[in-house]
């Protein structure tokens, strides 16, 4: 019987890289996944909506974490790339009548091309300089959303049909839940496994020391662009899911604040960890909903205070993020590991 792996007994690299460390953890993970699929039968539409937002955010955050956490390249353009994905999916389904299950990967690929293109400066630029270059990408793409009217519909945007899966129209939160959950699991698994391959190891080595990586024969240019492409693919899928969720695509959904939100997700969750991206995405999605419900509740008792409560809400959001950076700089994932470690040894923690 091995319920938990107390201590490290790994004797080979293969064992070290295993996804399921023990049979027990495998059962737990599968149990969790099955529970996730059972959840919508218990939750109301509002909570399902929050869950859907989390799944979409997880996809985007995993993508950004591959770029920033694993490869060490900062991007302030994730929001715009999501927009590219959304518009691409909208364009494919409206103009060419492509069904959603093809439109989403195609949108991902289109965004990957965009991302790789805007990743070109990354060979010469690092850190702060690169973040400004990607910020420029954000603004250029936002500008294009408004100006490329024949493709994007200009300021009024595009209106697409709900995703249709062999005659089943995915129009409400309940149905969309299964779609977003499935894609979220697929994308997360892909990300997790990617990091165990040569590609992932190349990303890590570039992050840790790019000179050493190049000396080892890793083509910096190629892998940096690949990292941008992979990350943008994720953004594109997240964006196209969002498009099928609301079925209206307007430039206002993909502004710089979205990019910043994604960056804060991976920082709060934990850089360089798929799990961290999941935690961070859930946290950043739930926090404003939580604050909103408090402010609605308080506002119903003191209507005159609504505005003040609203402003406090924004402040609290900022404060929570700052507190996190101060007290848990390695993110929620570290806290999670500490909790796990505690229970591994409990009750004899010596």
């Amino acid at each position: 019987m091995n319920y938990v792996n107390c201590g490290n007994f790994k004797t080979s690299y293969t064992k070290d890289a295993e996804v399921y460390q023990t049979k027990f953890s495998k059962a737990l993970i599968w149990g969790f996944v099955i529970a996730l699929f059972g959840l919508p039968f218990l939750l109301g539409p509002y909570l399902l909506y929050v869950m859907n937002l989390i799944f979409i955010a997880v996809i985007g955050a995993v993508g950004l974490n591959i770029l920033t956490g694993y490869t060490g390249l900062i991007s302030l353009g994730q929001g715009a790339f999501m927009g590219v994905g959304a518009y691409a999916a909208g364009y494919f389904s409206l103009r060419w009548g492509i069904p959603f299950y093809l439109a989403i990967p195609m949108a991902g690929l289109t965004t990957a091309v965009f991302g790789a293109f805007f990743g070109i400066p990354s060979l010469r630029l690092k850190g702060l300089y690169l973040s400004i270059a990607t910020l420029a990408a954000q603004f250029i793409i936002e500008f294009l959303f408004i100006r490329l009217e024949p493709i994007t519909g200009g300021v009024t945007g595009l209106s697409i049909d709900y995703a249709n899966f062999f005659g089943i129209e995915i129009y409400d939160d309940f149905r969309f839940y299964f779609l977003s959950l499935t894609i979220c699991i697929l994308m997360t698994l892909a990300g997790m496994n990617m990091m165990r391959t040569k590609l992932g190891r190349a990303f890590l080595s570039i992050r840790d020391n790019y000179i050493a990586a190049e000396a080892m024969g890793i083509s910096l240019f190629r892998y940096k662009l690949l990292s941008f492409a992979v990350s943008s693919f994720y953004a594109g899928v997240a964006g196209s899911l969002w498009a099928y969720y609301t079925t209206i695509i307007t430039p206002e959904n993909f502004t710089i604040s979205v990019s910043i939100q994604y960056l804060s997700m991976i920082i709060i969750g934990g850089l360089g960890s798929i799990q961290g991206a999941i935690f961070g995405a859930a946290f950043i999605v739930v926090l404003p909903e939580f604050l909103q419900s408090i402010s609605d509740w308080a506002g119903s008792y003191y209507p005159a205070m609504t505005q003040i409560i609203g402003s406090i809400k924004e402040g609290v959001f900022g404060l929570v993020i700052i507190l996190f950076l101060v007290f848990e700089p390695e993110g929620l994932v570290r806290r999670w590991r500490l909790i796990k470690a505690y229970w591994k040894l409990w009750p004899f923690s010596y």
């Binding site: 109301g44 539409p45 509002y46 909506y49 929050v50 937002l53 500008f143 408004i146 200009g154 300021v155 009024t156 945007g157 209106s159 709900y162 129009y171 939160d173 609301t246 079925t247 209206i248 307007t250 430039p251 206002e252 959904n253 404003p288 909903e289 909103q292 402010s295 609605d296 506002g299 119903s300 209507p303 609504t306 505005q307 409560i309 609203g310 402003s311 809400k313 924004e314």
Partner: protein, 381 residues
């Protein structure tokens, strides 16, 4: 202890029983976000309207309950508020901005919930694209059309026009393509277009370009901030062009911000202003405020907008006679014709072909700090 618990429980049940009869209406307002300056008074107007209805017997004896959400002008927050409205089974929603209204169109249509918006974008009023959306106000496109019509008929020697806008959905809505096409139709020349950001503190270079093209008239689609910048810089540069602001640029606030430079500024405004006490609705609002808010002496035009819009929405529900089904409400609104808003706007009419509530407005001019109409009601058609 047990007794107390039972009493509380009974009370709670009674209260919830009483609430069950309430007519719930969702309200989406921006009080803490970038459009909070106009959103707050708008929301106060909505609330006073509801309170007045409730103090006078509610709707067919049922109390109106507002589910009021300050969404901070963020689209995801608007979506989550919408889910909340749906969970609470609201019969109608009063929304706010262009972006969030657009994002909600499909859901509103599917759930058949009448939706009033504070965004005056024309594309929100087409019944085939947005069958449950309604507007109490003159659309941006119609505002420009009315302005252009006035220039064509009564403008001086120089009838060239220019458009000044911010590069957003809100900014571009009135001019492209509606304003441009209509100018062409009337035979007026659009000689210049300038982009001025909503938060711009300087518009000198844009105005220098404008003065090179020398238009007789320039339309401004901004809010107070940018409008005040434009007017100040125009005065500094000695530009002779006559500026015409669309509704969100026009109000007492502008006079406070720019003082002297606001003299002669024209505005397209569909709502009666606080100082026009000869109008029945304004008299009514003065009395209402004396009763509800004794220390309030002045109300912005946005307050009146909010009040009027809610007034129309609630009257529709009242007319529905107990059947608050979305389809029924929709047909009630679509049959609303020449509904009197106590003179706060020209009469409101919706139809199956158009969900634009108000079709005509007066042109206003600022003279010595006073905002006064100088035309009668003009329509776009």
């Amino acid at each position: 202890m047990k007794k107390l618990f039972m009493v509380v429980l009974t009370l709670a049940l009674l209260v919830s029983g009483a609430y069950a009869k309430n007519i719930k209406i969702g309200v989406l307002v921006d009080e803490s976000g970038p459009t909070g300056d106009v959103g707050k008074p708008y929301g106060e107007g909505i609330r006073d309207c509801v309170q007045w209805f409730n103090d006078n017997g509610g709707i067919n004896g049922n109390e109106i309950e507002l589910i009021y959400v300050d969404y901070g002008y963020k689209i995801p927050a608007a979506l989550s508020a919408y889910k909340k409205f749906k969970r609470e089974r609201v019969v109608a929603i009063h929304g706010w901005g262009t972006g969030d209204t657009e994002n909600l169109i499909k859901m509103v249509t599917r759930d058949k919930i009448p939706y009033f918006s504070a965004s005056y974008s024309d594309h929100l009023t087409h019944p085939d694209k947005a069958p449950y959306n309604f507007l109490v106000g003159v659309t941006y496109g119609d505002q420009v059309k009315i302005g252009l019509k006035y220039i064509k008929e009564q403008g001086g020697d120089n009838k060239d026009v220019s458009f000044i806008y911010n590069d957003t959905g809100f900014g571009r809505a009135p001019f492209f393509p509606i304003g441009e096409d209509y100018a062409k139709e009337l035979g007026l020349k659009v000689v210049d277009k300038q982009v001025v950001d909503l938060k711009a503190l300087d518009a000198t270079s844009q105005l220098l370009n404008l003065s090179k093209a020398n238009p007789g008239y320039a339309f401004i689609q901004e809010t107070y901030m940018a409008a005040s910048t434009i007017l100040k810089d125009a005065k500094k540069l000695g530009i002779e062009t006559q500026f015409i602001g669309l509704n969100w640029t026009f109000g007492q606030k502008l006079v406070e911000l720019v003082g002297e430079a606001s003299n002669g500024f024209m505005g397209t405004n569909a709502f009666t202003l606080w100082h026009q006490t000869d109008v029945k609705g304004i008299k009514f609002l003065h009395e209402l405020n004396k009763k509800y808010h004794p220390d309030v002496t002045y109300r912005k035009v946005n307050y009146i907008q909010g009040f009027t819009s809610m007034y129309v929405l609630l009257h529709g529900i009242k007319k529905a006679g107990g059947d608050y089904d979305g389809d029924n409400l929709k047909s009630v609104y679509e049959n609303m014709s020449n509904f009197d808003t106590m003179g706060l706007t020209s009469p409101v009419s919706f139809s199956k072909e158009s969900h634009k509530g108000v079709h005509s407005l007066k042109l206003y001019r600022i003279e010595n700090g006073e905002l006064n109409p100088f035309t009668d009601y003009i329509t776009a058609e």
